[in-house]
């Protein structure tokens, strides 16, 4: 199988301080992502999966344990990682091209090279004709594809996807799932995606990390060894789905805290301030 581990997450824990009280969000997370692998992290809301992505991308660096990318501990955002948020986060005052070009801002590429890379990536996400458009002129799916292009334009080693399809209707969702697969295969990109949709996880990934909440822990890791394209109605597909569901439901008993305020719901946007 795959030889090397590109991403190595070892004993990662994360605690926020909210109202002078510690709130444990992640506890002792372990898993690895191999080169060109598609890994999905699944779990109910509040299990810290988005936090985990923010740690990997480097937006939040105050954690215990190690997140190693090619053996190097992550301490800041870097060109080797791209991220697609659930909301596309395209800057509304820039055209699609300009938004995508931002991905190469930190590089020393010549303007011509930037232009070419932008065109190539827009082509990859099938938005070649919409380079001049503004975000508000795009549909939700198109905007998400533009965001993918922006994340890919700097040729990251790994692409992180934070529920990128969560806000889309089911038809667009199904279409984009195939697009993601196509981009994954064509671009040979390693992807780590967070989702709460089991079918989506089974359909896309090579490996599913199942998490439980409060505090976020890894409950189990389910490999998906089905060939692509996968058939959602096939028996083996459903079998994998059942396994994931079983590990979600039947794992060690879930522990619910009595006090609702200790729920670690920390809005993404706010997190920075507590660090």
């Amino acid at each position: 199988m795959r030889a090397t581990n590109l991403l190595d997450i070892r004993a990662v824990s994360k605690t926020y301080i909210v109202d002078d009280e510690p709130v444990e969000v992640l506890r002792n997370i372990h898993f690895t992502v191999a080169e060109e692998e598609f890994v999905t992290v699944i779990g109910e809301s509040g299990c810290g999966k988005s936090t985990l992505l923010r740690l990997i991308v480097g937006l939040d660096i105050g954690y215990c344990g190690d997140i190693l990318l090619d053996g190097t501990r992550i301490a800041a955002p870097g060109r080797d990682r791209g991220i697609v948020f659930q909301d596309h986060r395209l800057l509304p005052w820039l055209s699609v091209e300009q938004n995508v070009a931002l991905g190469l801002d930190a590089s020393d590429e010549s303007p011509a090279a930037v232009k070419q890379a932008v065109a190539a990536n827009l082509d990859l996400v099938k938005l070649a004709d919409f380079g001049r458009a503004y975000p508000h002129q795009l549909s939700g799916g198109m905007a998400q594809r533009a965001a993918i292009a922006r994340a890919l334009v700097a040729k990251p080693r790994i692409l992180l996807l934070d529920e990128p399809l969560g806000a889309l209707d089911s038809q667009t969702r199904a279409y984009l799932q195939d697009e993601l697969l196509r981009i994954h295969q064509r671009g040979k990109v390693t992807m780590v995606m967070v989702t709460h949709d089991i079918e989506e996880a089974v359909y896309l990934s090579d490996k599913i990390v199942v998490m439980e909440p409060r505090p976020g822990r890894v409950r189990g890791i389910v490999p998906v060894e089905l060939p692509h394209p996968r058939n959602r109605a096939a028996a083996d597909f459903i079998a994998v789905k059942e396994r994931v569901l079983a590990s979600l439901v039947n794992g060690p008993p879930l522990c619910f805290d009595a006090a609702p305020k200790s729920r670690p719901i920390v809005p993404d946007g706010r997190a920075r301030r507590f660090g």
């Binding site: 109202d19 002078d20 706010r270 301030r273 507590f274």
Partner: protein, 262 residues
């Protein structure tokens, strides 16, 4: 925005830092003033400004002036804000009213309120009438504008809700339109109060005659008493500040659903 309780229990870091510049300035003032490096006509010693409102016979008139100005402001504000609210409701509630009054109101509003002074003095002289009319005018425009905008910007969703619930016009007004417009109206009241205060002092300053902080200022200038002028300006600023501060605290009580003004 940074309302996270990082500083709970020791709220003074931010406020201590805020006091730094004013303290340094006052200290500099005292030092420079006592060394006499700068012409004393320009830079009155700090101690003098502190004592003038209490010890100097001319300076003491600032209290009477302040009382007169405040009374004038309150009266003018009551008239102007009342009329402004009526205008605002007329424009904000009825399309007929908005079409009838709106364009004229917008046009007249463009005339800087101070530009009314020569006309008002010609019409009403320099006495109390002209000043009251001017103060009322200063309060009227922001009040009417904010009332109208608040009503105009009531979200369509709420209007539709009111229609769906088949609310009576009165309930529609008291339960939907007014509460939704209230934050804007309250801001209108605040701006109207501040404008009324500036208008009061401005009217006194430009029209003269009688008592008031503005007249105190003019007299200080005519007698070339810098200490008096500074006391007058401070009185002007303090009242403006107090209006603002009181209002911020009232706001939270009156419009609890508005959240914290930031």
């Amino acid at each position: 925005m940074s309302r996270i309780s990082l500083t709970v229990g020791r709220p003074s870091i931010a406020s201590r830092r805020g006091m730094a510049i004013p303290c340094v300035l006052i200290l500099g003032w005292i030092v420079v003033g006592s060394t006499g490096l700068v012409d004393r006509h320009f830079l009155v010693p700090f101690q003098r400004v502190v004592t003038v409102p209490f010890l100097d016979p001319d300076g003491r008139t600032v209290w009477l002036g302040l009382a007169a100005s405040l009374a004038r402001m309150v009266a003018g504000f009551a008239i102007g804000a009342g009329a402004g609210a009526l205008l605002g409701f007329a424009m904000g509630l009825s399309r007929f009213g908005n079409r009838l009054i709106g364009p004229s109101f917008t046009a007249v509003r463009q005339v800087t309120v101070f530009a009314w002074i020569p006309l008002l003095t010609a019409w009403f002289g320099n006495g109390e009438e002209a000043k009251l009319v001017f103060v009322a005018l200063a309060a009227l425009f922001p009040m009417a504008l904010n009332t109208q905008q608040g009503l105009r910007d009531v979200p369509v969703a709420y209007r539709e809700l009111a229609s769906v619930l088949r609310l009576s016009p009165r309930r529609r007004f008291t339960r939907v339109l007014l509460p939704s417009a209230l934050p804007s109206i309250v801001v209108g009241i605040e701006i109207a109060l501040i404008s009324a205060w500036i208008g009061t002092v401005g009217a006194e300053y430009a029209m003269g005659f009688g008592r008031g902080v503005g007249i105190f200022l003019v007299q200080g200038r005519e007698q070339f008493r810098m200490d008096i002028v500074i006391v007058g300006v401070i009185a002007l600023a303090v009242v403006g500040y107090l209006i603002n501060a009181t209002f911020r605290s009232l706001l939270a009580r009156w419009v609890p659903w508005r959240g914290n003004p930031s």
